[in-house]
């Protein structure tokens, strides 16, 4: 009874280590492969298109929604202490430091990470990845690298857009509905922020971009078991990368703020 428990725990620890090692190896190979020839510009451009341009609407919509609802809550909360003026300051702090990067990261893990997992997973089970190998092409170099590069450029860019949109989301509620002065809002929004807050937001976005692309590609690349496997790959990629986005967000905040 006790022995089987220890056995099982041991086995699951080992398999978790295996998985982590496999991910680390592939991530390492991706970093190395970035600098390898030949450089495939067309492929990279396609990825920018798929990852970047097509994600714009969803990032804008979620940023507006979240910043508006957050502003409503802040206005309500601070009204309890007759401190409505603080709402804009806290709104700015929250959007730049947390909501912008995290919302963008989470939405993109659903939007592009899952697409990567599905695409590579299909290629894996239909032997297209083996065909790449047979045509003397490293799948890491051909498939992972363009997605990785596109993702680490696009996620920070979209984070900036999300912050900008978040500013106007808060504006609509606090100025439009709560009747604060537009000039005061624009001033107060940045009051608690320094330039380094934007830098921290971009660092976070960069790390989230890496997580999204690497986890998505890895889950796709390791797909097995036909249609069922292809079905599981995107789900598992979204869950895994969202989890790691939130975990790394905590540590990045702790590390970068002190």
């Amino acid at each position: 009874m006790v022995l089987t428990f220890i056995d099982k725990t041991g086995a699951s620890v080992l398999s978790a280590l295996d998985t982590a090692g496999d991910f680390a190896t592939l991530a390492g190979r991706t970093f190395v492969a970035i600098f390898k020839r030949p450089f495939d510009g067309k492929n990279l451009l396609n990825q920018f298109q798929a990852v970047g341009v097509h994600s714009l609407p969803v990032v804008i919509l979620t940023s507006v929604a979240v910043s508006m609802v957050f502003a409503v809550q802040l206005a309500f909360g601070f009204r309890q202490f007759q401190a409505e003026g603080l709402a804009a300051q806290v709104e700015g702090l929250a959007i730049v430091r947390e909501l912008g990067p995290v919302i963008t990261g989470l939405m993109l893990s659903g939007r592009i990470g899952s697409a990567m997992a599905a695409e590579l997973g299909t290629m894996q089970v239909t032997e297209q990845i083996d065909a790449l190998e047979c045509l003397a092409t490293d799948p890491i170099h051909y498939l992972f690298v363009p997605r990785f590069l596109a993702s680490i450029v696009v996620v920070p860019l979209l984070t900036v857009i999300s912050i900008y949109v978040g500013f106007w989301g808060g504006y609509m509620i606090l100025v439009g509905v709560e009747g604060q002065s537009a000039f005061v809002y624009s001033h107060e929004f940045y009051k608690l922020l320094a330039f380094r807050d934007l830098r921290i937001a971009l660092y976070k976005a960069l790390v989230f971009g890496m997580i999204i692309a690497l986890v998505g590609c890895w889950k796709g690349y390791r797909t097995q078991g036909g249609a069922e496997g292809v079905g599981n790959a995107p789900t598992s990629s979204v869950v895994t990368s969202s989890l790691w986005i939130l975990i790394s967000d905590f540590f990045l905040t702790k590390l970068l703020l002190v």
Binding site: E127, D130, E133, C134, A136, T137, D138
Partner: protein, 263 residues
């Protein structure tokens, strides 16, 4: 020295032994046909030759280079001289036929776009698929996909061509077409080939030697005439295409007399 040398190759997946102690030599310019029931490890054999799988024991050597011991760059060099035709063609479905065939050319040769185009046209006409270059793989039938797969495999002028069940799942006419394409490729390009097939007719046309895989072992590897005359009961049963005999692990359902079936 043999161009392809498979030595004591063994491969198991977990407890399931797929190949045990397989030995095959293929000389330069020779075509070997590998026969065997479904699931006897024919594809596994080819994947070991391509270095997509690593053997548990034994090795595969191509031109004396042991595949499993090569560095990745060296392995890619060797693979450039091998064309692999997959069982389900494995075309890149996001690309057109043209881009599929041009893939290796664009990546490995420093040649102009016109040269790529003329080489792709040449390869497509060799497999009888001229004029399909703008189509996507989803718009092709099974036989057409296989032939585009051939064109992609021969684009880099490989020394070795590997065909994995090129005719399985096709109608008899298309089977004959594919058989002829393979013969043409063999004569025009003078390549060394390994063909896996269930189609005995084209097997005997293509083969210089025929091997039969049975329960993970290679039980014969000899010229077609000797193969036909081989008294081994498994070989004779395979040639007859009969369910009764030592070939199957589980005994087949008994044969009914047609009068019994329809009284």
């Amino acid at each position: 020295m043999a161009l392809i040398d498979v030595v004591n190759l063994s491969k198991a997946f977990g407890p399931k032994v797929v190949l045990s102690n397989v030995n095959l030599q293929v000389q330069e310019g020779e075509s070997l046909v590998v026969l065997g029931g479904s699931g006897t490890g024919k594809t596994v054999l080819l994947r070991n030759i391509m270095g997509l799988l690593t053997p548990d024991a034994g090795h595969v050597a191509i031109e004396g280079k042991i595949i499993a011991q090569l560095k990745r760059e060296e392995l890619f060099k060797v693979r450039q001289s091998i064309g692999m035709c997959f069982q389900m063609a494995a075309l890149f479905d996001s690309m057109t036929v043209f881009e599929n065939v041009a893939f290796g050319l664009r990546r490995h040769l420093e040649i102009s776009e016109e040269e790529v185009r003329s080489r792709v046209d040449e390869c497509l006409s060799m497999v009888g698929m001229k004029g399909t270059d703008k189509l996507k793989p989803a718009e092709l039938s099974g036989g057409m996909k296989r032939r585009v797969g051939f064109a992609r495999a021969i684009a880099l002028k490989p020394k070795i061509l590997l065909f994995d069940e090129p005719t399985t799942g096709l109608d008899p006419v298309m089977t004959d077409v594919i058989g002829r394409v393979i013969l043409d490729l063999k004569h025009e390009l003078g390549v060394t080939t390994i063909t896996i097939t269930h189609d005995l007719k084209s097997a005997f046309e293509i083969a210089d030697r025929i091997a039969l895989l049975f329960r993970g072992e290679c039980i014969a590897c000899e010229p077609p005439d000797a193969f036909k005359a081989n008294p081994h009961p498994v070989i004779q049963q395979f040639l007859r295409g009969d369910a009764d005999g030592p070939f199957l692990q589980d005994p087949p359902p008994p044969k009914r007399k047609s009068q019994e079936a329809h009284p």
